[in-house]
């Protein structure tokens, strides 16, 4: 096993329990915003899409697919964050107060 893969596996092994722990603490009140927020964050795969679309060496087919992927993940990012914020703006505690 190469060194790179080993490090990646360590990262995974630490990130999974961290994610589980973080999400367990989220109040059920906010489960819908949680889903749309994580939905937006999962579009971080835009990184991979940009790397392909902007690559100087990739064949045209790959670049075209990369550009489509950039568009799709941008939709995901924009829609995900905006809807989350729209929802969270509505949550307020007491009459009159913010």
């Amino acid at each position: 096993m190469s060194n790179e893969i080993e490090v990646s596996l360590y990262v995974l092994v630490l990130a999974v329990p961290l994610g589980l722990e973080l999400v367990r603490r989220v109040s059920p009140l906010l489960h819908t915003p949680l889903m749309s927020l994580t939905n937006a964050i999962s579009a971080i795969s835009v990184v991979g899409a940009i790397l392909i679309a902007g690559s100087g060496t990739a064949p045209t087919l790959s670049k075209v697919l990369g550009c489509i992927a950039v568009t799709c993940s941008t939709i995901n990012i924009v829609a995900g964050f905006l809807i989350t914020d729209r929802m969270l703006k509505m949550f307020r505690k007491k009459e009159g107060s913010k």
């Binding site: 973080l22 819908t32 971080i44 790397l51 690559s55 064949p59 087919l61 939709i75 964050f81």
Partner: protein, 460 residues
């Protein structure tokens, strides 16, 4: 590009990873939640800028154009959808994200020959990406009711699905063994796409909260696999956090229905009792008018409202807020009981009630409020059905036996607003409706609540 510039993108990625983690941490409480969204946006921004600065990225024009197109579609999508349509929007957004992940995998595959570990990661990314794409589109169709929400089943369905999946796995294994592009790759993607469709077909609308959470998890896992394929740890962290989020939510949803994962995915809920509804329909129920209901509510001290998907469909949350205000003014204590699987996605009811400006400290989780029903004068059920069915506690033959429910039947008076006596989505009859203390209020939830509000000043 120089060494120093190389350091810039790596630093940006580290900031991005930290922001993603903080984003979810801040979402834990409504007080800090908006900061969480900001942190998430900040993280994504850093990830994108960092990537654009990398020396591998030589041409920017098409990337920027593609992003502009994406933003032009995404912004109206987020602002034009009504709040009741959040589950659909989330499903659609999943479809786009997963499709992007799948396309990156495909592009990567056709870019240069890959082998071994990287090919394995790519195959996982591609299969999860494509199956989540079609599954999300199917879920969108069911939530938008373009596709019938009823489970679609046929004999041997599970066998067909499982063998299809096994076949896809075999092809995946072949690709890892023999990675040169051939007919295997298109067949593999085709199977993944088909499997996504078949996976959602037998799942009913009531199980959507679990399924959406599960799809969220798959999208995260695809992102994580991409991280392994590209040796990008930012993607691994974000993907893993995401996958675990979706996973936990779907486990919570399953628990709230007392069902296992396999049962949700392969059980085709709601088919079981289709025949059992005819003979009970003849039993007498007590129905009441808006005026009667207003009278009962006005003389109550404590009212617990139980909203369900029916409230969302009728868009009754704003009228409900008027009713809450009117009753509160009269000194009635009005609280809301939220079942974990009420609605079509986790937390759906909370969002709708928040939209109607009902303060969130009035919204209570099932475990917290269940003991209070015994002291409540009125339990007002609006568009909820299975989550208040007492059969879940004692009737071993009921398909929902064992599912934790809201104990509305313990309240002094139970009022149920319902369109008609037609059994709910799952087709299970509800004995709650035939109790002596139950008043059935037949009509559209929105207009009926409106009428109660109108009648209130006339009473006492």
């Amino acid at each position: 590009m120089t060494e120093a510039a190389g350091g810039v993108w790596q630093a940006a990625y580290i900031v991005a990873a930290l922001s993603v983690v903080l984003s979810i941490k801040w979402l834990s409480s409504p007080v800090t939640a908006r900061r969480g969204v900001f942190a998430g946006e900040f993280g994504l921004l850093f990830a994108i800028i960092g990537t654009l600065l990398r020396q591998e990225v030589v041409s920017l024009e098409w990337i920027l154009v593609s992003m502009a197109v994406g933003a032009a579609i995404g912004v109206p999508l987020a602002y034009l959808m009504p709040m009741t349509a959040v589950p659909q929007l989330t499903a659609l957004s999943h479809a786009f994200g997963a499709f992007a992940a799948a396309l990156v995998g495909t592009a990567e595959y056709y870019r240069e020959p890959v082998t071994g570990f990287k090919m394995t990661a790519l195959a996982i990314e591609i299969v999860l990406g494509f199956l989540t794409t079609t599954a999300s589109i199917m879920a969108f169709g069911k939530l938008q009711e373009i596709i019938p929400t009823r489970p679609m089943t046929y004999r041997g369905q599970n066998f067909v699905n499982l063998s299809l999946f096994a076949f896809a796995l075999a092809l995946g294994g072949w690709m890892i063994y023999e990675p040169a592009p051939s007919w295997v790759f298109p067949a593999f993607t085709g199977l993944a796409l088909l499997f996504g469709v078949l996976l959602i077909m037998p799942i009913g609308g009531g199980d959507m909260p679990t399924v959406i959470a599960l799809l969220n998890s798959y999208a995260g896992a695809a992102c994580c696999a991409m991280g392994f394929a590209l040796e990008n740890r930012l993607l691994i962290i974000a993907g893993a956090v995401n996958a675990s989020s979706g996973f936990i939510l779907s486990v919570i949803m399953c628990k709230a229905m007392n069902r296992s994962f396999t049962n949700v995915l392969f059980g085709a809920f709601g088919q079981v009792q289709a025949g059992g509804t005819a003979q009970v329909a003849a039993k007498p129920v007590k129905s009441a008018t808006a005026e009667d209901a207003a009278q009962v509510l006005a003389s109550a001290r404590k009212v617990i409202v139980v909203p369900g998907y029916g409230m969302a469909v009728a868009q009754a949350q704003h009228k409900l807020r008027e009713l809450t205000d009117a009753l509160t003014k009269r000194g009635v204590d009005v609280e809301f009981a939220i079942h974990p699987v009420a609605g079509r996605m986790p937390g759906h009811m909370n969002v709708l009630l928040a939209e109607a400006d009902i303060p969130y400290d009035r919204l209570h989780e099932m475990e917290d409020i269940n003991p209070d029903f015994a002291e409540a004068d009125v339990a007002l059920v609006i568009g909820a059905n299975d989550v208040v069915n007492p059969a879940a506690r004692h009737d071993k033959n009921s398909p929902i036996y064992g599912m934790p429910i809201l104990d509305v039947d313990k309240a002094q008076t139970v009022m149920v607003i319902k369109r008609s006596m037609n059994p709910g989505f799952a087709g299970i009859d509800n004995e709650l409706y035939y109790m002596d203390r139950t008043l059935m209020l037949f009509g559209d939830a929105k207009s009926f609540v409106g009428e109660i509000v109108k009648e209130l000043p006339a009473v006492g």
